[in-house]
């Protein structure tokens, strides 16, 4: 039985332009898999893994491939004993159980790989030799979930084509160094999965069209986050695997030079029952009006990137924390130097979330309650306070900008 909720899962990894030039292997890996559980239940899996590029991680290409393979096996094991309807159990698995299982399997796999290497490598195995990140997306007929650790990104694309970050690596703290990321090789690895774990019933996300999972090389190749989100919004329309591969090669060539991986799946559109007659009538009417020159198409004003960002966050409040928390440093800078807000607001399309923070500082934002609460907490943590104007309860956004109340969907 094939999951009817998701279409065309695909994954592709392309060697980075820098690694190609240096004669190094591709240290990224990715896969899609269809797993069958109890009673023929089907779960689709997307996975991407990114091996660390430093000389200490000289087998990280093997590490990332083994991470994807062992993740698939671990998820299959869970599926064999856990019905997909038991979302509570799956939520727990995503947050902790799967982390422990994948990490254990990965360590066993790299130990076996180390032992089989010829000639025998000197010294004992150090897991950092195989170090890599791992991002997983699970696609069930009635829900989707994600988990993992490291600097991968997950983007949700709506039916209208707008894209927003669903998950990114949280800040590793003020002392985190340059290009540092969490890793499967860390002893505390399993504890780092929890903040990345999410599970969402599809019924609560009627506008969700696709999910795009990528390694950090893709995002770092784009000039801005706005470009990255635009890329994710458009890439789901690619039909040919060759187009995707060529596109990823272009991304690394013109961008970061890093290995790049992308895995994605489209949600099955529910069949429209009223389409044939209604659409035919509408089409006929519009054509007639156009012919006689009565249809005037007003030019739609460009969407306000901040409002688009706000709506995306408010439509799914579970994303708010994941998106805002990494912006603490930016908020502190805004607090110290309010003139930075003008720069962010001058080009909101370059950093919509930054511009949203700037508006919150100026009190010109009407956030939904969940966003407002998180913003207030963030400003409080930064040692400041969100201006009162942004907190006025009598200036709520239209209902469409707010998340639906529980049970209202």
């Amino acid at each position: 039985m094939v999951s009817s909720a998701w279409l065309a899962p695909r994954a592709c990894s392309v060697i980075g332009a820098a690694h190609r030039r240096q004669g190094k292997p591709c240290q990224d890996a990715s896969l899609t898999a269809q797993l069958t559980g109890q009673g023929g239940q089907t779960l689709q899996l997307l996975a991407v893994a990114d091996g660390h590029g430093s000389s200490r991680s000289w087998l990280s290409d093997r590490g990332s491939a083994l991470a994807c393979r062992e993740a698939e096996r671990a998820v299959a094991e869970v599926l064999a004993v856990t019905p997909l309807e038991d979302t509570t159990a799956w939520e727990t698995w995503l947050a902790s159980g799967l982390a422990a299982a994948v990490q254990r399997r990965w360590r066993e796999a790299i130990a076996a790989d180390w032992k089989q290497r010829k000639p025998n490598p000197p010294g004992p195995l150090e897991p950092v030799t195989y170090g890599c990140t791992l991002g997983l997306v699970l696609l069930a007929p009635r829900w989707w979930g994600c988990t993992g650790l490291g600097d991968w990104d997950l983007v949700a694309v709506t039916e209208k084509g707008s894209a927003s970050l669903v998950s990114e690596e949280p800040s590793l703290g003020p002392q985190a160094s340059g290009e540092a990321t969490a890793s499967l090789c860390l002893p505390e690895g399993p504890a780092l999965w929890g903040p990345r774990a999410q599970l969402h019933p599809l019924a609560a996300q009627p506008q969700l069209r696709a999910l795009v999972l990528s390694t950090d090389g893709v995002r770092k190749s784009c000039a801005s986050d706005a470009d990255f989100l635009a890329l994710c919004g458009q890439v789901i329309a690619l039909r040919s695997p060759q187009e995707l591969e060529e596109g990823l090669a272009q991304i690394t060539r013109q961008g970061s030079g890093d290995d790049v991986s992308l895995a994605m799946a489209l949600r099955q559109r529910p069949p429209s029952r009223r389409w044939p007659l209604a659409a035919a009538l509408l089409l006929a009417g519009a054509t007639t009006l156009a012919v006689v020159g009565l249809v005037r198409r007003p030019t739609a004003p460009p969407a306000d990137p901040v409002l688009v960002q706000q709506r995306a966050l408010c439509a799914d409040p579970s994303r708010i924390r994941a998106n805002l928390t990494p912006r603490r440093a930016q908020l502190q800078q805004l607090r110290r130097d309010p003139s930075l807000a003008a720069q962010l607001l001058a080009a909101p399309q370059n950093d919509p979330l930054g511009a949203l923070l700037a508006r919150s500082q100026r009190g010109s934002l009407n956030p939904c309650p969940a966003l407002e609460q998180q913003l207030m907490a963030l400003w409080r943590d930064a040692g400041g306070k969100m201006p009162a104007a942004a907190q006025r309860s009598n200036e709520r956004p239209p209902a469409g900008d707010r998340p639906a109340a529980p049970g209202s969907r």
Partner: protein, 243 residues
Amino acid sequence: MPFPNVRLSNRPLHFIYLCDCSGSMAAQGKMQALNQAIRQSLPGMAEVARENPEARVLVRALRFADRADWHVQEPTPVQQLQWRDLEAGGITAMGEALERLAGVLQSPPMEERALPPVLVLISDGQPTDDFETGLATLMRQPWAQKAVRLAIALGHDADLEVLQQFIGPEPPGGGRSPRRPLQASNATSLARYIQWASTAVVGAASMPASRVQEQGDSNVNIPLPDLPPTLLDPTDDVGPLVW
């Protein structure tokens, strides 16, 4: 369907010199040696940039004497940089220099996609202003925390303690390390250190290599390359002890 048309970009790598231009730099040809070392390093730096097109190497320089001021203010592609000589005269406003530096390491103007910057502090003396406040201001900037911070001490009057504070905690054990101030005692060793910072370090910082965040290594932002030989190594021959 054509691949999505979005703006792709290589990643800026900001390389910033902080040069002591106090009066003592005029003595024993130190300023002349520094100008020459930087000027001579540029072709090698440009070559490294050419070999790593994924990084856009942009150079700036900040001078400090009585006051701190930009010597090369605009982030300049290394291939286009024409080095103008620095001149010595005045005291050592190192703390003010760090505050000026902090101003450009904010986001914005720092690009969200930038690689960790490389900051090279070169001094032959002691700060005459509030170094601690300047350093604290600098280190509040996330980009300063992420930066590769190097320091070159010219001669034996340089304050190694403040240079070490700029770099970060000293690594355990003895011996030479890029995590300690590099001590240049003549024009040759200075040139070698400048060459090393502008080529080997820039090359390492240009690599698209993510790395694991391990406990206790918060101050090693990129794996630094080996140091060049110096007079401290008895097998080297880099000229006489001058400074």
